[in-house]
Symmetry: C2
């Protein structure tokens, strides 16, 4: 039995191995992804983001337990920008294991940052696809929020939860987080803390500014137009604000109900497939950029590249001029080399 | 007088106009950057990052005032991932203006996120170069931290300050921030808050894990190897932890002294030019990726692209397979079109 067949049959060990291959972007991993791709498109992808200290991980734990009680199979991709030094991913896993270990229908994968965030978004997309093909009904994508990089990761999701908590900073800082616009559902976690009314009030007034009805087309506009234009949604989604206390499980069934309501909204409005398309278009763009870059570096001799870079280091050539030189010159070299089918120019 | 000449002469209005052109990546902006590039390489670039609520902005304000008292010309690039809806950038500016307005040797530029973070890193690099050419001695690059995207922006700097504050979350969350490894100086701001000892203790034990001596080569390894190998630094930098209370100005002279000490370390160890090279190499890579992507989209007919994307949307083709088709097919088309010098394939 091949690895992909084992994954489709529900073999957890095969799943773990395939996830590693996909994360490491091996050629076997890519081949397996291609094989699994026709089996994807069924799971509900739920992004969960928010600043450090908002209690995202325990919220995801609680939601996972809740959906398990509804007999849903649940997977979690916890995207963790910790370095290999800090061991944050491991620590996080151990905390989670207490509640969810031993349940064969839950799979948690912590993903540490390896290199650039583009790479992380790409490997998260791959991990989510594998979970989807493996038959998980609900897939959480959890990231530490605030930055645009995390926004890009969460954009993989059908439904995005932005988690806030009282007392994390003043109003200006809250506004600066800048991730409100991607929220489908706002969660005020740690709602037993003082200041919860103020947090909720600030969120509500910011929501009024943000015009959620326009938001979807702003964010997904470009990607959607890559396919055919979808019909505008029947009616706009009103972003709810849900209080939770994840340590006690308070508000979790209500939050889960909001998530299911949002899924129904997406299905009935046509937004579900619009988001699917936006997601796939973004994934193709990311892989495309990586491929173009790899092709360039395979094509341009290293000595040539270093020679141009030396001129940049000496301030004799600006970065823009350098790229102009490298892309014009290399193109010619490439075409000649290909035409003569001769050996690669190397030095 | 051309715009770049006016900028080099110290004209603030010309500077503001050029910054806009560079941020919008106009061809005039790029031409001006090329003209200004030989004038760059003199400023000390100081990255300041940390989670929302740590008080980064007021810390940068205080440091700016301090360096002004030493007769340094100071510029600030405040990178703000707020959306246009929230108005965070505007609000931030107004708060700053109280302390620093009217000083002709201070220039503050708030940069809101436009599209992808890659673009933001690129336009930040451009803004910093213009400040550098315009003769600012100290350039702060301030970002809301936590994500890898912000890490990439801060990597532009010679000296990176990571700002923490007591009471922002538990220890696991602090580890998750994952930006400790890029710190040259750790700042515990709001040091009059309860819990400051715990925050400092947690930071200190994490520093011991992180092996700062190895860090530099890990992070800048690839970019450095693009040029010739630098000599290893004479001795490793020990990351200091500095307490501050930016609202009162406490700890600011000491922090400024640490910053100058780090600059001296960079100069004497050879790390200054190693970081310059890493920075320029990263900038070339970013521009290169953008250029390759633009060339691809100019080359591949939109109908062809959409046709392939439709097959992906129908799950008939995986994203990897789609990119394989698009890059092979387009390459052939491009070479043929170039060889015959005929008109571009369009439909």
């Amino acid at each position: 039995m091949t690895l992909t067949e084992s994954v489709l049959k529900g073999d957890r060990l095969a799943l773990a191995r395939l996830l590693s291959q996909a994360e490491n972007n091996t050629s076997e991993g890519r081949a397996a992804l291609a094989e699994l791709f026709p089996h994807t498109g069924r799971a509900h992808l739920i992004g969960v983001t928010g600043a450090p200290g908002t209690g995202k991980s325990s919220l995801v734990n609680r939601l996972a337990l809740h959906f398990r009680s509804l007999k849903k199979r649940v997977a979690v991709a916890a995207v963790d920008p910790s370095s290999p030094f800090s061991g944050g991913a491991l620590l996080g896993d151990r905390v989670r294991m207490k509640d969810l270990s031993g349940d064969r229908d839950v799979f948690i994968r912590s993903m540490a940052s390896r290199g650039a965030l583009g790479g992380l978004a790409q490997s998260t997309a791959a991990v989510v696809q594998i979970f989807d093909a493996a038959g998980y009904d609900i897939i959480f994508i959890e990231t530490v929020g605030a930055g645009q990089g995390e926004v890009d990761i969460v954009r993989l999701a059908h439904t995005t939860l932005v988690v806030e908590a009282p007392g994390l900073g003043d109003d200006i800082q809250a506004i600066k987080a800048g991730i409100l616009e991607i929220a489908d559902i706002l969660v005020v976690n740690k709602a037993d803390r003082p200041g919860v009314e103020n947090t909720e009030k600030a969120l509500r007034s910011m929501l009024e500014l943000a015009h959620p009805a326009e938001r979807i087309y702003l964010h997904h506009g470009q990607a959607i137009s890559a396919g055919e234009s979808p019909a505008p949604p029947a009616k706009a989604w009103t972003v709810p604000i849900q209080r939770t206390i994840s340590t006690e499980g308070a508000g979790i069934p209500e939050l889960a109900a909001q998530i299911e309501k949002h899924r129904d909204y997406l299905r009935s409005s046509g937004d579900w497939s619009a988001r699917e398309r936006a997601r796939l278009a973004a994934e193709v763009e990311t892989i495309l950029q990586q491929t173009l870059s790899d092709q360039f570096h395979a094509r341009v001799p290293e000595t040539r590249y270093n020679e141009v870079m030396r001129r940049v280091f000496d301030r004799g050539l600006s970065p823009w001029e350098a790229v102009g030189l490298l892309t014009d010159g290399s193109g010619t070299t490439d075409r000649q080399a290909t035409a003569s089918n001769g050996p690669r120019e190397r030095s």
